[in-house]
């Protein structure tokens, strides 16, 4: 049973952290609240951050894309900066989360802070080198999203507030594709894979392969990435692809549960990794959005 006693509204990140620390009892940040209303976590009060000035989506002069933690997933779907960044991969991932009413309420920060292994937004953001910005009462800290997740439902935050994530301008021109494997159209992912490749001079300069729902936290398949990075595009033969995908599948650590077996999940990492890389390398870029993996 939900024993919520108090609803606090913060007008800035610093105030939010202060309200969280004020006590008494246990508190939680709330933005869209879509997960919280399902789960009714044991807390005595919540701190609403919707008015804390962290809902903006912006492109910095340096070209970085900043996604405020309280930006809604539908905002990510609709925003032109996001739609243009890395072929619109972030918009596409956001569009596969829940349904429109959920997306219009749920936020990107909530999706990350809830820290489910299957967090819908994590793989694509990991694949685009996202950095997290975290507010304390009197300072801010930033760290790579790869270091943000500590375990299932656990992040580095403790009582601090995630104010947003930034994607480096260099990634804007990367080719990125993601796929969420589900049982029905509106579902938690069984497996999610996001791949992004920075290509130049006929070469794969940068490679990122990010996996969701196949390990305690959303993760990068670093060994598989290393096999791709620096390769001539023409050298990426079907055999190489198969090896890369197999290595990626070997890097994850999926669970057996009633949604899918570990064996199936691992094989799907293999299949989807191979397909996504193929798609990026063979597509002309125009039909990256919307196509099935």
């Amino acid at each position: 049973m939900w024993n919520l006693q108090e609803y606090r509204i913060a007008s800035s990140p610093a105030e939010a952290v202060a309200l969280m620390r004020k006590g008494p009892g246990k508190g939680a940040y709330i933005a869209g609240g879509t997960d919280m209303l399902l789960e009714h976590p044991a807390c005595d009060f919540v701190v609403d951050v919707n008015n804390a000035g962290i809902g903006d989506i912006a492109r910095t002069p340096g070209g970085d894309l900043f996604l405020g933690a309280a930006a809604t997933l539908q905002g990510l779907v609709d925003n032109n900066f996001v739609r243009e960044f890395a072929g619109g991969a972030i918009s596409k991932s956001a569009s596969q989360c829940g349904n429109r009413p959920v997306r219009s309420t749920a936020t990107v920060g909530g999706n990350l802070c809830n820290a489910l292994p299957s967090a819908d937004m994590a793989p694509v953001l990991l694949a685009l080198d996202a950095t997290c910005y975290i507010a304390d009462e009197d300072c801010q800290e930033s760290l790579p999203l790869t270091d943000f997740f500590v375990g299932p439902r656990m992040t580095v935050l403790e009582d601090r507030l995630l104010v947003g994530v930034a994607l480096p301008g260099e990634c804007a021109g990367w080719r990125c594709a993601a796929h969420k494997l589900t049982r029905t159209a509106e579902d938690i992912s069984l497996v999610q894979v996001a791949v992004s490749l920075g290509m130049d001079d006929g070469k794969i300069q940068e490679a990122r392969i990010a996996l969701g729902a196949v390990s305690p936290v959303p993760m990068r398949a670093v060994l598989a990435e290393t096999m791709l990075a620096g390769q001539e595009i023409t050298a990426v033969t079907p055999d190489v692809l198969r090896d890369v995908a197999t290595i990626a599948a070997g890097e994850c650590d999926p669970l057996d549960d009633h949604r899918a077996s570990a064996e199936y999940r691992r094989d799907m990492v293999n299949v989807l990794t191979r397909r996504l890389i193929t798609r990026i390398l063979t597509d002309d870029g125009d039909n990256m959005e919307g196509g099935a993996a």
């Binding site: 029905t184 938690i188 397909r275």
Partner: protein, 763 residues
């Protein structure tokens, strides 16, 4: 026809669209209390003591009851005609919990939150017992008895085994016939436990009125059966009970059952205050009812030319902790399905066992979806082994006009049934039109290299009510302005029966549809009806409406005849007018004024209707799928349903029935399954993990109505509600097999199961 066959505005559309307070939950009474059920954490345990002291100390907690507070009167919760063909194996609150989620105690408090808080404070002393959750083990194990009570009624092998119900009926001699066949094919098929997932949960509100009568406002399919059952178990006369059914947000068979009404009844009588009990979605998925999980063994003997000589179906089914509908659902698995191919030799045998799993019961299709899956997959398998085209094999053997259903006489609802002859069938036409719509025989190119396309089909038949059992009444009363009150016991649960019955009434009286004011399902105010189940309402209750309206028409002709000095038979009622010979005519309003104020009679009639026939509606259903050979994912691209339901009284609503059934059938085929662990605990009691189809999952649907004229039906109508849910699963699974050569003997055909099948195939 002026009204029948027309897509009139659904009679309750405006109030529903406006969000008027018309459902059970839109209603409150002063001083209403809220009930919550304490459920067993053990699959099998004696309830030795319930200490509610701490719970009762909470302010606002009014009462806690458990089995010591309620007289033990064995009954069935299945909402069927009396005497019910389901075992009397249930108590309101019993001394033994038989599944994880079984009722242990009930709290009533001033709010839901308080009632929930009180549940946490109740201390129960259990004596745990060994449990049986595997149906094969329950079938053979007679050491552990789930129902060992001394005086149950209607359990097949009470006190000896865990068999709740069994059937063994044979036409001809299957063993002998199989020996003469050129080919005998035997396969096992496995059917999952699925839940109806109606939008509106089970909910009831009960109170004692100023006349000391118990009023129960409830979301039900069976208001009249409920009144009888409540009288029996609460030990108060029917005269002191009124059951009111408001608008209902879906039932699908899951509300052909007393699920919460007994508890609100007991508590309202005890406390003297109104009591409300509403299931959460979790409770729906644990403590409502499921489609029975079954394993079906099919054995079919054929000749080289494709003639089916013998068919045998053996069903082992899990009824869970109680035997609601155990006999009749499983009976239907054979009865509604095997007649599709009326071989000279048919053997149907079933055993339905108790287990310590949650309860199975009625669910749209009522056993036929299981049987149809097995039979229609099996026909494909037989065709494959025979090297014969699967369509041709079906065309050669399916039931035809004038054929006698070989099983109906041997398998009634719990007793010998009536002979059924097919008096109308559009099956051949349905097959022809369906094939055309799906592009049967035309291979299509898949849209990517890792995808493969396939086509599948299935034939289905059902019934229209239960022959010789189902009946309903209707009262028609004419008002001053030519409008009529139509009162029916028939139960509109969202399927639109109020609309269809009003259409028939208007047609029969020759008045506009909007002149009919319908009142349905109030045990004080309307005639009896068995309720909304067995695809009976249009065919059975419609028959009563037509009779009553015709009788009122006769009464009006009887007063107008002398007035106009003509034979009553010469008067025609149409277009809101009564027209006699020699240019005599009156509007229906004028007729009403004349009857009421000159002739001084109330034109009014009540009629009853039952049928010794249960004419089968037919469906031919087709799926086009694309299977991902690497992930196992199945995408149903197109789904065609060609359905013969006689005359469609309201074509768009019939299409709605069919398309809704396809969506439900799609879930059955591909992703719906209530998962239990070894102790019978439900692992996915929520819509996050119990997946049903949303609008995004539904394929492109083509729905074709094949009109026939059923001689025994009102305006030629047969049923439409259940038959279209039978075919989707086998059609889709047959299409998967066509696409990738993998036969899914177990549904749902989840991506992972198909993936495993593909891996085994390549091994």
């Amino acid at each position: 026809m002026k009204v029948v066959g027309k897509n009139v505005t659904k009679i309750d559309a405006f109030k529903l669209a406006r969000g008027e307070p018309v459902f059970t939950d839109d209603f409150t009474r002063d001083g209403m209390l809220y009930a919550k059920v304490l459920r067993s954490p053990h699959p099998h345990a004696r309830i030795l003591n319930v200490d509610a002291g701490a719970a009762l100390k909470l302010e606002g907690v009014v009462d806690v009851i458990w089995h010591r507070d309620v007289k033990p009167i064995p009954h069935t919760r299945a909402g069927q005609s009396y005497p019910e063909p389901s075992p009397y194996d249930t108590l309101i609150l019993g001394p033994k919990a038989r599944f994880i989620g079984d009722r242990v105690a009930v709290v009533v408090a001033e709010s839901v939150a308080l009632a929930e808080a009180a549940l946490d404070k109740i201390v129960v002393e259990y004596e745990e017992l060994p449990a049986l959750t595997d149906m094969d083990e329950a079938f053979t194990n007679s050491e552990i008895l789930i129902h060992e009570e001394p005086d149950p009624q209607g359990i097949s092998e009470a006190g000896k085994t865990n068999i709740a119900a069994r059937i063994d009926k044979e036409v001809g001699d299957v063993d002998a016939a199989l020996k003469t066949c050129d080919l005998v094919v035997t396969r096992d098929y496995h059917l999952p436990r699925v839940q109806a997932s109606h939008i509106e949960p089970h909910i009831s509100i009960a109170w004692v009125d100023e006349d000391q009568r118990l009023i129960v406002r409830t979301s039900t399919q069976v208001p009249f059966h409920l009144r009888r059952m409540l009288a029996q178990i609460l030990e108060i006369p029917e005269a002191r009970i009124r059951v009111i059914k408001p608008r209902v947000g879906g039932g699908f068979g899951d509300k052909q059952e007393l699920v919460v009404e007994d508890l609100v009844g007991v508590l309202a009588l005890r406390t003297g205050r109104p009591v409300r009990l509403e299931f959460t979605r979790e409770e729906e998925l644990i403590a409502a009812r499921y489609r029975h999980p079954q394993r079906i063994t099919m054995t079919t003997g054929v000749m080289k030319d494709g003639t089916i000589v013998a068919n045998r179906m053996y069903v082992l089914a899990d009824t869970g902790a109680y035997g609601s509908h155990a006999l009749t659902v499983q009976g239907n698995t054979g009865q509604k399905v095997l007649p599709m191919y009326p071989a000279a030799n048919i053997h149907f045998k079933m055993d339905c066992v108790y287990t310590n799993n949650p309860i199975s019961g009625a669910f749209r299709g009522y056993g036929a979806p299981q049987g149809c899956f097995a039979l229609e997959c099996h026909i494909d398998e037989v065709a494959r082994e025979l090297g014969m085209d699967r369509l041709e094999l079906r065309l050669k053997n399916h039931i035809k006009l004038g054929d006698t259903d070989p099983l109906s006489a041997k398998l009634g609802e719990g007793k010998e049934g009536l002979v059924r002859v097919v008096n109308s069938t559009g099956l051949d036409k349905a097959i022809e039109l369906g094939c055309e719509a799906i592009g049967w025989g035309h291979e299509k190119e898949p849209s990517a290299t890792h995808l493969k396309r396939g086509l599948g089909m299935a034939l289905a038949m059902q019934g229209s009510g239960i022959a010789g059992v189902d009946w309903g009444g209707a009262t028609v009363k004419l008002n001053d302005d030519g409008s009529v009150n139509l009162a029916v016991g028939a139960t509109d649960i969202g399927q639109g029966s109020d609309t269809v019955l009003a259409q028939m009434c208007a047609e029969e009286l020759g008045i506009p549809y909007d002149k009919v004011i319908i009142l349905s399902s109030d045990t004080d105010l309307t005639p009896f009806d068995v309720g909304a189940y067995a695809s009976s309402t249009t065919y059975i209750s419609g028959g009563a409406v037509v009779k009553a309206a015709a009788e009122v028409r006769g009464q009006l002709a009887g007063v107008l005849g002398p007035h106009w000095e003509c034979e009553p038979d010469a008067i025609v009622f149409a277009d809101g007018m009564a027209t006699g010979p020699a240019g005599k005519s009156m509007t229906m309003g004028e007729v009403a004024l004349f009857a009421l104020y000159q002739a001084m009679i109330q034109p009014m009639a009540t009629a009853s209707h039952m049928s010794n026939d249960s004419p089968p509606p037919f469906a031919a259903q087709f799926a086009e799928v694309e299977v991902d050979t690497e992930t196992g994912q199945v995408h149903v691209r197109r789904f065609v349903s060609a359905v013969d339901c006689g005359t469609p009284i309201h074509p768009i609503m019939v299409e709605g029935q069919i398309e809704g059934a396809v969506a439900q059938g799609l879930g059955y085929a591909l992703f719906e399954e209530v998962l239990l662990d070894r102790t019978g605990r439900v692992l996915n009691p929520n819509f996050l993990d119990y997946k049903i189809a949303s609008s995004l999952d539904v394929p492109d649907m083509v729905t074709i109505l094949v009109e026939t004229d059923e001689p025994t039906g009102p305006y030629g109508a047969k049923a439409a509600g259940e038959v279209p849910i039978d075919g989707p699963a086998p059609a889709i699974v047959n299409a998967i097999c066509d696409a990738v050569g993998v036969r899914m003997y177990r549904i749902p055909a989840t991506a992972e199961r198909v993936w495993r099948g593909l891996k085994e195939e390549t091994r």
